[in-house]
């Protein structure tokens, strides 16, 4: 038996090729970076602009006039207050509600487990507006419209999937041996959970907390229906500003609103990259 031993050296594996391909890669990379970054760059420019008329590639006149304008005119304080109270509350409450269930999904066998797991997905597929309208009527009867807890509760809906799936995968990834070693050393099951399971699965839980927090910070549709006018959060304020004032105001506000998030990004980067997100979604 003899093969015409033709090695098939056509193209080589990734980037290990001629400069041409490398250049192509660099161009694609640049294009992608521009696609992502240029809008944000434009926004930053607008935020420090006093006058920018059309054909200019840079503003004709820089200035921070709009910053003081925004601080003195817009209701930032109130909106920031509500955002920074609702978002952490939603995050913590959803953790309280969901983490035990996440643990149950990871460690226990019980009837209809899979069904419940998938039911959570289904909850995500119903268009939110449809739910909010119905929820609004329901909250109305309970006197929750325009209240802090009304807003918190309605935002809880969005947290369910993330807060159960991702921590559940994180719990499941804790080796049983580590828990057993603690039992062996004399710890009660509850003690084992708090001393061993929880700390080890913390990175995954942090990812879930961050996503929930960001989701809540970004939420506007539900808050608009349930919360306003008493509870206006930052995104709602943003809608107002964008639709009522010239560009720089929206830009200034955007920068204000995005800064904490981006700081969060830099802090949480390594957890996000560690694959907990995907583990959660694949766990089904």
């Amino acid at each position: 038996m003899s093969v015409p031993a033709i090695p098939a050296p056509r193209a080589a594996w990734f980037l290990q090729v001629a400069g041409l391909r490398r250049a192509l890669g660099a161009i694609l990379l640049l294009a992608f970076s521009a696609f992502l970054l240029m809008p944000l760059w434009t926004l930053l420019l607008w935020a420090v602009t006093e006058r920018w008329l059309y054909p200019g590639v840079v503003p004709q006149q820089f200035g921070l006039k709009w910053w003081s304008w925004v601080f003195s005119n817009a209701d930032i304080g109130k909106a920031a207050f509500w955002s920074l109270t609702t978002a952490p509350t939603v995050t913590l409450l959803s953790a309280l509600v969901c983490l035990p269930a996440a643990y149950a999904f990871a460690r226990f066998d019980f009837p209809l487990k899979r069904f419940f797991y998938v039911a959570l997905l289904a909850s995500n597929a119903f268009p939110k507006l449809g739910l909010y309208i119905a929820i609004a009527a329901f909250f109305f009867r309970l006197g929750l419209i325009g209240t802090f807890w009304g807003v918190v509760l309605v935002q809880l809906v969005n947290a369910l999937v993330v807060m159960i799936w991702i921590p559940s995968a994180a719990f499941a990834a804790v080796p049983k041996e580590l828990e057993e070693a603690a039992r062996d050393a004399g710890a009660s099951p509850l003690r084992v959970f708090f001393s061993v399971t929880l700390p080890i699965s913390m990175p995954g839980i942090i990812v879930a907390l961050i996503l929930t927090f960001l989701g809540s910070l970004d939420e506007s549709q539900a808050t608009l229906l349930i919360g306003t006018p008493q509870i206006t959060t930052l995104p709602i304020q943003m809608y107002t500003l964008v639709s009522s004032y010239p560009e720089p105001v929206g830009a200034v506000f955007s920068v204000l609103l995005a800064t904490p998030s981006v700081v969060l990004l830099l802090l949480a980067r390594r957890y996000l990259l560690a694959g907990y997100l995907a583990a959660g979604f694949k766990g089904g």
């Binding site: 041996e177 580590l178 070693a181 603690a182 039992r183 062996d184 004399g186 061993v196």
Partner: protein
Amino acid sequence: MSDVTFEQIEKRYAGRAAVADLNLRIRSGELVCLLGPSGCGKTTTLRMLAGFLTPDSGDISIGTRSVLNLGPEARPTAMVFQRYTLWPHMNVFHNVAFGLKLRRLSPAFIRQKVKDALTLVGLPGMEARQPSQLSGGQQQRVALARALVLEPEVLLLDEPLSSLDAKLRVQLRDEIRGIVQELGITTVFVTHDQEEAMAVADRIAVMHEGVLHQVQTPGELYDRPATRFVADFIGQMNFLSVQPGTSGTLLAGPLAFGVPQSAVGTEVAVRPEDMQFGEQGHPAQILRVSDLGHYREVLFRLEGAPDLAPMTAFVGKSEALETPRVRVRRALAYAGGVLLGDAVPLSAQVVGS
């Protein structure tokens, strides 16, 4: 005092027995190895003793009392695992001190105990290290310290060395044996490595498919394996399929053996070192010689016996192989998988004619 007794223990998974009718008594202070191929039920047995699994039937006792109704935290056992041995979010000190702290001992006492335990396993002063800063062998030592610091009556080790390098494995197994003997702790050591088992165990319990085949000292286990499985699993073994000869003898080609009784399907088993090359015996054809260091492994065929599979012999480095003639020094006979008794090598001429 800390004897461990398994009585008619049975554990089934989805109808299949992972451990079936296990009766085993481990004496106080003894080191017993559970040995067997993957999936034979070693871990299951160990975990039932530790309290992580509940047997379907039977009883387990430590000392004189049954421990079946106790949770793992209440049993006087401590376990060292194969993988994931340390808690990655605690440093060495906190790993070792964890169980002590649960017992609300004074901090000074805990510090002293941890220090002693780390010294015992050869890691003095490593308290502040994170598990990730330790090598695999050091991690297993800390895990050992963590188990020992609670002064358990019974120490359980589930393949504690299998993720380590060969050299390190040898070193650590000797250390473990030393420590355990010094402290006089009853120890159950699970392994699938027979060399490891032979090196550390007072007695070895060989399991196969959930069934305990034999419990013996390493030497006796090697010399008189009670079942064909044990004979095959422990060390190397040549199995010769034999034909009944005249007057109660068995014939394997030119070789003849005398057995007390015989049955259909009887086999004769010969250890490679019992195949003796020399001036006398049957001419052999040497197929391959591997130099394994302090001895050589010789693959050979007996001349005039085309039906016999090639056999293995261990030959010292000084012995000559120029005149390849083979004599069997010692053999055993198995029937139905069970030891029948010695198969006495007979001079072929005597019988064959």
